[in-house]
């Protein structure tokens, strides 16, 4: 019973927050709703016994991705009036996409629920292990090449982002921490005896 209450509560909050994302007038509120929806989705994972995935969802999406979303949205100066003008024009296309998605999900859900779909046979490799270790076993034995390939794709994307934004500006004085730390009184200071009324010769 407690599990059912938890599920319906979390599911209702997830859906409600998802609705908030598309209906808020302020984009920052949209991102905050998105965060709420991620967070309750993580709660849904916990109710299904996938606590490792739940924590990863919070760490990666809520803790890192959504922070950057918020960062960008706060910096943008979005003109809401201009955004709303095209609403009537885009309405039919948007409605069509939403309708297709809804029909697809209903078809898949009924097919899966009535046993029409061949469910991917999930090998219970080590039923006694907690799911962290099970995921580790599966990722690093059965699917190690796909896993490494996915890592490679992310690495390429990261290098690409750095190459696109890296600029070497000539003529900029850069700080060299090593030089600063290695400075001694001898190399950084000169003691000059000044005779009164004469000043220093450069």
């Amino acid at each position: 019973m407690a599990l059912a209450i938890a599920f319906y509560l979390l599911a209702a909050v997830t859906v409600g927050a998802g609705f908030g994302v598309v209906s808020s007038r302020n984009p920052v509120h949209s991102v905050l709703f998105l965060i709420l929806s991620f967070f309750s989705a993580a709660g849904l994972f916990v109710t299904m016994g996938a606590e490792f995935l739940a924590m990863l969802l919070v760490v990666v999406y809520v803790g890192a991705v959504a922070v950057l979303f918020l960062f960008v949205v706060m910096m943008l100066d979005v003109d809401f009036a201009a955004l709303r003008q095209g609403f009537a024009r885009y309405m039919p296309v948007g409605g069509l996409v939403a309708g297709v998605l809804a029909v697809e999900m209903i078809v898949i859900a009924t097919a899966a629920a009535t046993g029409g779909v061949h469910k991917a046979d999930s090998p219970q490799l080590h039923p006694e292990l907690p799911n962290i270790e099970t995921i580790g076993h599966v990722l690093y034995t059965d699917y190690v090449y796909f896993f490494q390939a996915a890592g490679l794709v992310l690495l390429v994307a990261m290098i690409g982002a750095i190459v696109l934004t890296l600029r070497h500006k000539p003529g900029v004085r850069r700080q060299s921490i090593v030089d600063q730390v290695a400075r001694t009184p001898k190399s950084g200071m000169r003691v000059v005896q000044i005779k009164p009324g004469q000043g220093i010769e450069q």
């Binding site: 509120h29 924590m55 922070v67 950057l68 962290i132």
Partner: protein, 358 residues
């Protein structure tokens, strides 16, 4: 416990858990008043001042006087502020700082929630802490708070990366993410603590783990916005950063949340690297004591360790000047990140090819 008893039903479980949470939160908040005083006293001592010494003997009641003052003042909400987010931000900071304590093992068997992903849970909660600051800065609708919150977002995201890798080194040594299990593995004496490689057969790994503990300590300074990394509230540049527009109880919530986070980080350092509630030297006669007494004995060591690391936090605040922003980013991305990644690689290799290898 009997499976049919009242305490095994959902209602009874809720009651017991609420009682456990209260047993953690209330002493913590009272202790916090004295941690705050200790912080000010350490700071004052370094500067050869006396610090708060008027309210109560040695100023012991200063924090309570401050509490009353904060609560009784008027809450000022700026005109252009986003009221809901403005008030939500300090509450969020406060709540997130407290929920982290759910998985901290205080003594043998004394933990509110003994979950398998305890380390990850703490990591997730601490990565959420940034939202209070970002939301507060943005909702204030003012320049300095906004700049402060942007700095904070970039800073915390940067240092979380190296904190994550340091945590991976500890998980590699311990082979579990359960904090209680991590502490239990460090039993037997201080040479078994993770900071010295977790056991004599791993002693060469002390060369890796001691720097990791130092990196974790410095990163947790950055993660909790403590000096020398308190750029989000740098008073010389940003007045008080994201806190500029806050007053009264919301400001108090921000301040308590920040301090609870600091103590949480101290607890995490002592659990992950310094054996949590394990005594530095395993005295044989302790095992003959009744379990409850042993638990209090463990709690004593845990509290002592947390106080020691809090003292380090206080000393660092008093004697280290604030970093410049680009230096902060350089330290996080160019020094800590490569070092901790190298440490993960070395430790993983040691676990597989070393003497205790799989």
């Amino acid at each position: 416990m009997d499976a049919n008893s009242f305490w095994a039903t959902p209602g009874g479980w809720t009651l017991i858990t609420v009682a456990q949470i209260m047993a953690v939160v209330l002493p913590l908040l009272v202790a916090l008043a004295f941690f705050m005083l200790a912080d000010r006293k350490i700071w004052a001592g370094v500067q050869m001042r006396k610090g708060p010494n008027v309210v109560g003997p040695f100023g012991l009641l200063q924090s309570f006087a401050d509490l009353i003052k904060f609560v009784l003042k008027e809450i000022v909400i700026p005109d252009g502020a986003d009221k809901f987010v403005f008030l939500l931000a300090p509450v969020l900071t406060f709540v997130l700082a407290l929920v982290g304590w759910a998985v901290i093992p205080f003594a043998p068997g004394w933990v509110v929630s003994d979950i398998n992903v305890g380390v990850l849970y703490l990591f997730a909660i601490s990565s959420l802490g940034v939202y209070g600051i970002i939301m507060g800065g943005w909702a204030s609708n003012s320049k300095y708070p906004f700049l402060g919150s942007l700095r904070s977002a970039a800073q915390m995201v940067s240092y979380e990366v190296s904190i994550g890798f340091v945590i991976v080194t500890v998980i590699l040594l311990a082979g579990t993410m359960n904090l209680q299990a991590i502490v239990e593995q460090q039993a037997g004496g201080f040479w078994n603590w993770n900071v010295f490689g977790g056991g004599l057969h791993n002693l060469p790994m002390a060369l890796v783990m001691i720097p990791m503990a130092v990196i974790f300590f410095i990163s947790s300074l950055a993660e909790t916005n403590r000096p020398p990394f308190d750029l989000p509230e740098a008073e010389s540049e940003l007045v008080a950063g994201y806190q500029v527009e806050y007053s009264s109880s919301p400001f108090l919530l921000f301040m308590i949340g920040e301090l609870v986070n600091i103590v949480l980080m101290c607890a995490l350092i002592s659990v992950m690297f310094f054996g949590g509630w394990q005594a530095p030297i395993d005295l044989p006669f302790v095992h003959d004591w009744p379990p409850t007494v042993q638990s209090f004995y463990g709690l004593m060591w845990f509290v002592l360790k947390v106080c020691f690391f809090f003292f380090l936090f206080g000393i660092v605040k008093a004697i280290v000047p604030r970093y410049r922003y680009d230096q902060l980013m350089r330290l996080g991305w160019k020094v800590f990140l490569p070092t901790s990644m190298a440490a993960v690689a070395i430790l993983a290799a040691w676990r597989v090819f070393g003497p205790a290898g799989a």
